[in-house]
Every structure is written in C-alpha cells, then in structure tokens.
Symmetry: C2
Subunit: 211 residues, 2 copies
C-alpha cells in the first residue's frame, strides 16, 4: 500500500455508476474526472459477476495508480483484496467493519456509510478511517440514503474527528454552502459522471469548493 491511511485527500470523492455513464467508457470517464481534480475514486458495481468486477477493478486501478489517487472498492472486500485496492467502503448492509478490519489488516482504508450521529460515532469507534454521511440533498442515485440535514451534519462534524464525506444529491449549486459545515469532502456520482464534459464538471466542483 503506497498510500497512507491518514494522508488521504477526500475533497472530491468520485463514486462510479455505469448507469449514469450510459454507453460511455468507465475507465476513460474516471480518467477525465481525475484530470479535472477528483482526489479519490470509489468503484461501485452491483449485479455483475465477481470476475467482471475483478477485471474492471484491475483496469480502474491502472488509472488511479497512474495519477496516484486512492481507489476504494464498494462493499466487496474480496475484490478489494484481490486487486490490492487502497480501501473498502462499507454500508450498513455490508460486512460489519470490525469483521472487515480483522480480515484486511491495518493498511487498508475502511470507510463507512452513516446516516445518524450514532452510526458515525460507532463507525469511528470501530476504526473507520472516514464516514460517508448522507443523503445531504434529495437524490435519485441509490447511495444508502436517508435524509441528513446540514444541521445534523454540523453536529456530526463537531462530534467526530475522522474525515467526513458528504453524500447524496450534491451538485455545483449546493456544494459551496455544504462545505461551510467543515466536512472534508463530497462524494459525487451524477453531477460529474452524468455531465457531457466530465473533466470540466470536476474542475467546476473544485472551483466551487474553494469559494
């Protein structure tokens, strides 16, 4: 593992979704998003065979390695181990974090989805490297999402010390406000991968987040 668990930049956290991409190539799209400023990539696949997930993950890893960006695998600890990913992201319907940590050891980043202060505190206590909190805005993308207000996000921010990534419905119009809650980054699907110019969409996020 070349990346240190505590030296990760969560600022612009891209989560993949092949449905959003339509016919466009996933690998090229991820590369465009990285060129635009994406700081970390999560590969999220549902309903594909383990072999397909593994082979796709190997290809995505070539790109993330090239740009020295961490690659996180959604849910599937076996795929994360198989491709020696930098991290694993687990939701509340995935393997328990304590079980996952025991298997992957100390080098792998583990992120956990949380929708409440309680879940965020528990994730931190159980050794999560970061939490994904959301959904902060209404969304059509299925990202383990219950509504979390900016108020709640602020309370969670003050209660935990590990990085927080906001998830769900975040776009170029609401991201500037969202960053005022002092979270570490935003997880984006459609607002980058759904745009015609993926690189420009990522660049625009970076501009808006620096406002």
């Amino acid at each position: 593992m070349s990346l240190l668990r505590n030296k990760v930049d969560y600022k612009l956290y891209l989560v993949t979704d092949r449905d959003v991409l339509g016919k466009r190539d996933l690998i090229e799209s991820v590369e465009a998003a990285i060129k635009g400023g994406t700081t970390i990539v999560q590969l999220r696949e549902k309903n594909c065979s383990s072999l397909d997930f593994y082979e796709l993950a190997l290809k995505v890893k070539e790109v993330t390695l090239k740009y020295n960006i961490p690659l996180i695998i959604n849910d599937r600890l076996d795929i994360a181990l198989a491709i020696k990913a930098d991290g694993l992201h687990i939701g509340q319907e995935d393997l328990p974090i304590t079980v996952a940590r025991e298997i992957v050891g100390k080098d792998m980043i583990i992120g956990v989805s949380a929708t409440t202060l309680e879940e965020a505190l528990l994730a931190q206590k159980q050794g999560a490297d970061y939490v994904g909190i959301g959904s902060v805005y209404p969304t059509n993308t299925k990202l383990d999402a219950k509504p979390v207000s900016l108020e709640e996000l602020h309370v969670i921010r003050e209660a935990i010390s590990i990085p927080i990534v906001g998830i769900g419905g975040i776009n170029e119009d609401n991201v500037t406000d969202l960053m005022k809650t002092k979270i570490d980054g935003v997880a984006i699907v459609s607002a980058i991968l759904g745009k015609e110019d993926i690189k420009a969409a990522a660049e625009n996020f970076i501009i808006k987040m620096n406002d």
Copy 2:
C-alpha cells in the same frame, strides 16, 4: 481450520437454494439434510446483501460445526473469510482460483466448477481441491451448467487426480448409474431440498449411492 483439505468426504454434497425451499427454514432444512447423510454443505446465495449473506452463513456454520461437516461458501471469498468457512467454491464467472488461493492461504478448501476436460485440468493445475463437473443431467437449477455426458465425466475422471463432484439434475433415479463413473460425490439441490422429507431424501441418496 479443524478440517483437513485432503480429508474431505464429498459423497453427498448439498448445495443450498432458498427458492427451492420456499417458506421452509434454511437452517432447519440443512440440519435435516445432514441428519440424512449429507457429508458437505455449500451455501449459495445470490442477490442478497453482504450483511445478510454473512449473518446467514454464521447460522449455517453453527449447524455444520455441530455435525463436523465442512461448510463451503459459493463465490464470495469475503464471506468465506468473514465466517472462517472451511472452503470456497468458485465458478468460471467468479474470482480466478490463483487470485483466490493467494488471499485465503493454504488451509481453505477451494473447489472449482468445470464443464470440460480442459477446465478440469486447469483447475487441478491451479490448486483446486476438487472440481464440480456438470451439468451431468438436464436441470432447471442454475448451477454454472453446460451438458457433460457420462462419457466425458469418465474421461475427466481418468485424467485428473483430485476429487470430482457431479453437478446438475442428479436424482435418486440416476445417481446409481452416475456413481459408476467413479466420481467422488454428487452435488444436490432440488432432489433433497425440494422434497417434503429432506432427511429421508438424503438417506435415500446414500442408499442408492451404495448400490
């Protein structure tokens, strides 16, 4: 791992399928099948969350441990590791066996589905502990199945030295003939779990296999 990889009895290999069970309890059904003579159990789950698969596997493991029967997990290496299963069964659409072996180490049984002599030879070369060959009879159960004749099964039997488990469409009427090919065991889904008296169905298989 209390069971040795080379001391496994593959004779009556039960593969689970909740669709076949309908409303009947999976754990009770597995226990009945074991009481009837099942020598090894494979937990096969599709389309359920990682957490559900993990929790179900823990429960099945309680039963298999009680009867000192090996428990094999289908496809999901992460679940196999998480519950410290005795083995992992991988199909041609799952993780490559070489990748899986590197992760799980030397203690875990790895079985591979094969439909041809070539695939069986490759699986053996790559360190499979057994191969599942099928489908030997027509089947409605989706068990990575292309037709394999008894002739082909016999050829594979003479070509490889690791245990062979016949898969697909095997029932109490054809199992006696099938065992003449000198395979080590049969993988059964519906012909045990689809019967009203699961224990009796398993017992009947053992009788027919000893004929």
